[in-house]
């Protein structure tokens, strides 16, 4: 069981993702803004972060850059989630330091597979 932090300003998405990932046996924390997410990341030290990119105030790209600049947090993998599905979004996410990228609406089996691949212990 992994501790997953999900940051999204849309309540429906937070409920959906928490339920889905909860069902596959993970412990899901949610945050409704990038700031709240950053605070939770510091205090809870999640195993992985799922980050919505299009949030008001501070967006996911800015939040990821901040995470990846923090020596205490930069090791946590960040999966970018965006509904844009536009060309260039992927590059933009990876440039901001995201480790992977998924588009909304969610393909849950694929998302879970990606999360679990990231959580797998590194090969020895």
């Amino acid at each position: 069981m992994a501790k997953i932090l999900y940051i999204d300003d849309t309540e429906n998405n937070r409920i959906l993702v928490a339920r889905r990932l909860g069902k596959s046996g993970h412990n899901v924390l949610t945050a409704e803004s990038a700031r709240q997410g950053l605070a939770l990341a510091s205090s809870e030290k999640p195993d992985i972060i799922l980050m919505d990119m299009g949030m008001p105030d501070m967006d996911g790209w800015a939040a990821t850059r901040q995470l990846k600049n923090d020596p205490a947090l930069r090791h946590i993998p960040v999966i970018a989630l965006t509904a844009h599905a536009m060309q260039g979004d992927r590059e933009k996410s990876l440039q901001a330091g995201c480790d992977d990228y998924e588009t909304k609406p969610f393909d849950f089996p694929r998302l879970i597979e990606k999360i679990e691949a990231r959580l797998a212990p590194p090969p020895t």
Binding site: T10, N12, N13, I15, L16, R19, R20, G54, A83, H84, K104, P105, F106, F108, A117, A120, P123
Partner: protein
């Protein structure tokens, strides 16, 4: 003009949320005790998928560039209709039942209702240019009516909707319809109505010419088929349409008299999509036509998508087979995550160029890589010929294994043949390019472990002491020579000529006897 990219983004989000909740609820209600919830849940799910594909198709980039002018009203109608259907089904479930599978079930239904209303408002605010004034938000005409919502969604019944005049004003219909009826009056009536709505209409006055029309004319989107006709009747035609792969995907609506209900049931069992009783109710006619057409559009979309998927899959399979042995790729595809197999007996081959660093400082990089590529490609070919598995190239080094992943009792012999062929190949190549290319080769035999590790850029690789010893053999081989360890020598001594060579010190300080394999 509203910001269509944003509208697309927002609608995509809400449709995705409805779909997500719909899927959750369907899973929770899977138990047969809740089977009476299924039809409406399925309607919600299906309509949400329809909504999503309407957004993705209708609001795609190319259409946005074209300004979308002709499609806005059609799209907006279909989207609000979908949203309305979803909201009503969810609401009916929410109020109508009390024994839900879980506590959250009712809350999720309420979320679906709220999200569907939000979708309708979004559509109305950003797309609904023509019907924005409609006070109650109901949309005239062009209804795509899902089945399965039954009596508990009373407002879904057709008839309260638009008048023919409103329908014709929309001029939004697309598609080619074949009307098959032996009575001229019926054909004319349908022809006039359908053309007025913007459909392309073709006609046939008997079964035989209907079948000919499907065979020769351009693609049809829908067939309206009269049951009672002399000669080939509607049922015969339906039979043949559904039996032929070229025509079975075309939706068929049967035209019948009110007293033919048993025949109609038979037709639907044979694959007809729907039926219409004569005399036609105009609104019902339009609703059923649009419903069939939109189902067909979805199916067409789906099969196009499947075709694309298949092509992608074939491409990725080809790529996979380029980097992994076929049996290993198969196992990874079957879902094995970690592959590590022990092989009781195999022969490992290493080769390396003599003085490559020296050579490479004198040769332009392009020419150097070109030379390496040529010679390694030749080695790849020789490997295949002898049935060895190439493992990798490491700089100017080349590594292959015999007896892995498919065991081969004669692995040492195959490896020896490959080694001799590689030396001959290199000598020939050096002469051709007038450069002093030479390789050393080392062979060793024994148990090894082979497998795939890593999360990306993964590769099939080998581990074990015997691999290291083979590498030592290569490093100690004279230029142009093939040095084999005792284990390989013993397997080959009766079949090849060897010269004893110097002792080689391997890891741990052990000294090993070695032999030079001679042609």
């Amino acid at each position: 003009m509203p910001d269509l990219a944003k509208t697309r983004h927002d609608l995509r989000n809400v449709a995705g949320q409805i779909l997500g909740f719909g899927e959750l609820l369907l899973e929770e209600a899977r138990d047969s005790r809740y089977s009476r919830l299924h039809p409406q849940l399925e309607t919600i799910h299906r309509t949400a998928m329809q909504m999503l594909s309407l957004v993705e198709q209708g609001l795609c980039d190319s259409r946005m560039k074209e300004g979308l002018a002709d499609n806005v009203s059609s799209l907006s109608n279909r989207l609000s209709e979908s949203a309305r259907v979803i909201a009503e089904c969810a609401e009916a479930l929410h109020t109508g039942a009390n024994d839900f599978p879980s506590e959250s079930f009712r809350a999720d239904l309420a979320r679906i209702v709220g999200t569907a209303r939000k979708a309708r408002d979004l559509v109305r605010a950003s797309l609904d240019v023509e019907t924005a004034q409609s006070a109650d938000g109901s949309v005239a005409g062009n209804r795509c009516v899902p089945e399965g919502c039954g009596d508990s969604c009373p407002e879904l019944e057709i008839g309260a909707g638009g008048t023919p005049a409103m329908l014709s004003a929309e001029s939004i219909a697309q598609g080619t319809i074949l009307v098959v009826d032996d009575l001229e009056e019926n054909r004319d009536l349908l022809h006039r109505r359908l053309s007025r709505l913007g459909y392309a209409v073709r006609m046939a006055d008997n079964g035989q010419s209907a079948l000919e029309a499907t065979a020769t004319q351009q693609p049809l989107d829908l067939i309206l088929l009269d049951i009672m006709m002399p000669g080939l009747n509607g049922i015969d035609v339906l039979h043949r349409l559904k039996a032929s792969p070229a025509t079975q995907h075309i939706p068929v609506i049967m035209l019948s008299s009110a007293d033919q209900i048993e025949t109609v049931v038979r037709c639907i069992k044979l694959g007809a999509d729907d039926f219409l009783a004569k005399p036609f109710n105009e609104t019902l006619l339009m609703a059923r036509i649009e419903s069939s057409l939109s189902k067909k559009r979805l199916r067409d979309q789906e099969s196009a998508f499947l075709r694309r998927l298949q092509i992608e899959q074939e491409t990725s399979e080809r790529l996979l087979l380029n980097i992994l042995p076929k049996p290993i790729a198969e196992r990874l595809k079957q879902g094995e995550k970690i592959i590590a197999d022990s092989f009781a007996d195999a022969t490992v081959l290493f080769s390396d160029f003599v003085n490559f660093t020296h050579l490479s400082s004198d040769t332009p990089p392009k020419e150097l890589v070109g030379n390496l590529n040529e010679i390694f490609s030749a080695f790849d070919y020789l490997c295949e010929q002898q049935g060895l598995e190439k493992i990798k190239t490491i700089g100017d080094g080349y590594m292959a294994v015999s007896g892995v992943p498919t065991p081969n009792p004669d692995h040492a012999e195959a490896a020896a043949k490959l080694a001799l062929a590689m030396q001959a190949e290199t000598a020939g190549f050096a002469e051709r390019v007038k450069q002093p290319f030479q390789i050393r080769i080392g062979l060793n035999s024994g148990p090894v472990v082979a497998g795939v590790i890593g999360a990306r850029k993964f590769a099939y690789d080998l581990w074990g002491d015997n691999v290291n010893i083979a590498k030592h053999m290569e490093a100690s081989a004279p230029p142009g020579g093939i040095l084999v360890a005792q284990a390989t020598y013993e397997r080959l001594r009766d079949r090849h000529a060897f010269q004893p060579a110097q002792l080689v010190r391997v890891k741990g300080g052990v000294e090993m006897a070695t032999y030079l394999l001679t042609p």
